[in-house]
Subunit: 199 residues, 2 copies
């Protein structure tokens, strides 16, 4: 039997992770985000920072060349290994029971195997900049620069491993502007759709 | 004072027009769709079929060259005149009071002047094909061919007059897959967001 899963893809700084956690709490189902990273670390033996950085982002202009180079005799790279481990963990979680999974291409990975409500959360550059400064504090780079880098590397990672465009409106059952609608309204909509079994 | 407006952009065959009508009925506010076309016909003197075809679509591969050629001494084409008339009617309607406006780049036209909830409705090719056959009947072209033509010409029109991409996820406060969620769920979400003044 297929369990009902919610996948949340999100722009960095849009509050998508918070929306995922709140929705899961209200629905009394687990939310896999930080826990997912911990499980990947345990099963892969990779360093946590490596998993955080390379399991969802293609950081730096040399990521693609690294992913294509650094291959063993079978033609696989470390990045490919991390992708495979993440993928199998996400498939296992979806088998276990209803849950919310934040990021990590779960929408794509579960496209044929789970009963998913696929959500995308976005917000304007201005709102996201305010949010990352309030959540993560000031950094050397301006918040807009940090956001552009994150967007670019997340998009590149998604495109490389799924061969589809990240943030294409047609890939999601519901896409919400959290900056305009607010976190609570987003949670309410997702919860209602899930409870009404509308996907 | 700015009135609350709902703009509905939609893929052809996604049921966006029906969703607009039902939402307006439930909110007891007018829905401008067919009436908008009639007003444009009255004010412009253009033929109704011309307004339907050229006020939202860039049909045929020669549309762009026609829009760029066929210009009078001031450099304007008939297509530009139709765009200007549509634009001013939409701005007037938004001044009059709360309403739902379906299509015709209203989201873009009202971006700075109205308090808008901007909605995009889409659905899979398969669901839209089923819908257009049931609503409009069989035609010479296969439904998928008709949909691809409509998508292409609507996208071209929007891009030409707004200089922004049609269906870009970041342009809408809420985007919904009506084929998966169903018409009623879409209406409920839009109505709730409007009633809660969340935009």
């Amino acid at each position: 039997m297929k369990h009902r899963i919610i996948t949340i893809s999100r722009e960095f700084g849009s509050g998508g992770r918070t929306i995922g956690r709140m929705t899961a709490e209200e629905l009394h189902i687990p939310c896999y985000d930080e826990e997912l990273i911990d499980t990947i670390v345990q099963k892969s033996g990779f360093d946590k920072e490596y998993v955080k950085e390379y399991g969802e982002y293609a950081p730096g202009s040399n990521w693609l060349s690294l992913a294509l180079a650094n291959r063993d005799y079978s033609g696989r790279s470390l990045q490919d290994d991390l992708w495979s481990i993440q993928r199998s963990i996400i498939l296992d979680l979806a088998e276990k029971g209803p849950c919310v999974i934040v990021g990590r291409c779960a929408d794509y990975i579960l496209r044929d195997t789970a009963d998913c409500l696929k959500v995308f959360i976005h917000a304007s550059m201005e709102k996201r900049a305010q949010r990352i400064v309030s959540v993560y504090g000031e950094r050397e780079d301006a918040p807009e620069t940090r956001l552009r880098k994150k967007d670019k590397s997340r998009r590149a990672y998604y495109q490389y491993y799924t061969d589809t465009a990240w943030g294409d409106i047609r890939s999601y059952h519901v896409a919400l502007d959290s900056g305009v609608l607010g976190i609570e309204a987003c949670v309410r909509i997702i919860r209602q759709l899930y409870e009404n079994n509308l996907s």
